[in-house]
């Protein structure tokens, strides 16, 4: 509580004491359900702008007994979120009632944390993926920086949503085995990696064209007064 008070006073004095842009960032996280669980994937790079500053950042952590959390975006904000969650799990354990927070509860907690921080104009600069299994129930959800959240059979943050999800939509099945799931994730990651690290430009070449359609051969046919 004290730390929050200190931060608040800093905000009122300077007006702009908050995350305006991220410093050290992690790239996409991809997650999907498979036959008997949920699988998450992310690389271990921590980028400082375009520099690969840290090479072994763990961006996927386990939360409590049933959940996995993957994060892209500001690494320090992710570490703060981990501290929030550690405290949450600790206080939950102290009830000693045999109950435990499942992935659904953790995800809901995170959605509220992210949304409340954006309401204070002081966001946690992350996109989070939360996966888990509790009582045989698979769960996979996502939360964005400003509190946008949803569940799905497969999710991906950042560029992963552009690159990996079209593949996942085409190839994902409910009954994917673990090996198949890993293979599919590797395929997604490979594409995410190739495109995020740069571009290859081929020599120019002409496209195959077909001008044989009747509309091309007589383009003005039926154009005048046809209706």
């Amino acid at each position: 509580m004290e730390m929050v008070a200190v931060k608040d006073s800093a905000i009122s004095e300077n007006g702009t004491e908050r995350t305006l842009y991220p410093y050290v960032t992690g790239t996409s996280v991809i997650g999907m359900k498979y036959k008997d669980g949920v699988i998450l994937a992310a690389d271990m790079g921590g980028s400082y702008g375009s520099t690969l500053r840290y090479k072994s950042v763990e961006r996927i952590k386990h939360i409590g007994k049933h959940s996995l959390l993957g994060a892209s975006g500001e690494i320090s904000d992710f570490q703060e979120i981990l501290r929030y969650l550690d405290e949450l799990i600790l206080y939950d354990n102290m009830w000693d009632d045999g109950n435990s927070l499942g992935p659904k509860e953790i995800h809901n907690y995170l959605t509220r944390v992210m949304y409340n921080r954006r309401n204070k104009f002081n966001p946690l600069w992350n996109s989070l993926v939360l996966g888990g299994v509790k009582n045989g129930q698979k769960y996979l959800g996502m939360v964005g920086m400003i509190g946008t959240h949803f569940e799905d059979n497969h999710v991906a943050t950042g560029f992963g949503n552009h690159l990996a999800r079209p593949i996942l939509r085409a190839e994902w099945r409910e009954d994917l085995s673990f090996e198949e799931a890993v293979k599919l994730l590797e395929k997604c990651l490979l594409i995410a990696k190739i495109t995020e690290e740069g571009v290859t430009i081929s020599q120019p070449y002409a496209l195959k064209t077909y001008w044989g359609f009747s509309a091309f051969q007589n383009p003005s046919k039926g154009a005048e007064g046809s209706w």
Partner: protein, 221 residues
Amino acid sequence: MALRRDWVYENNGGTCVAIAGTDYCVIAADTRLSVGYSIYTRDYSKICKLADKCVMASSGFQGDLKALQKNLAARHLIYQHQHNKQMSCPAMAQLLSNTLYYKRFFPYYTFNILGGLDSDGKGCVYTYDAVGSYERVGYSAQGTGAGLIIPVLDNQLKSPSPLLLPAKDAVTPLSETEAVDLVKDVFASATERDIYTGDKVEIMVINASGIRQELMELRKD
């Protein structure tokens, strides 16, 4: 430089439509959740049952949308404990307006339609802007596809002028099944041109016997 605060909002798209009849109300929304040119999920319900005869469909920013739904659900729970009854649709309409206006200077970026039955069992539709100004109408559309749908509904349903004396009921002459078919048609059409509308449409029909849900597939491109 002025403080940029545009990042606190995101447009997740979506379209809502509602039609009121003499003894029913049809309220519908698509299930696509997107941002820019990419889709978050194809299966996100934007419809929320607030009371036995009162349903809200919303589009806009998903974070605000969910916060608004939770807020109204909590307020309705308190109402039930205090009055031992369900809130009426006109009362919920006023509550929604007040809730939106309460955040006039940091608005919920949501575009809502409230539909249901009033105390006489007549169909009612309330339509809103993001800061709470509202109106009871016979039919309405809100969200990214509204511009495509409203003219069609105007053409098909012809609401009576609000200036007429004596005032005429703002209910449509359509039967329940005709209204449902019209809703399906306008969604299929909006999906053709609006990139934020598609995947599925969730239709809720509220009448004396309760609430019925229908799902129809839409184009996924």
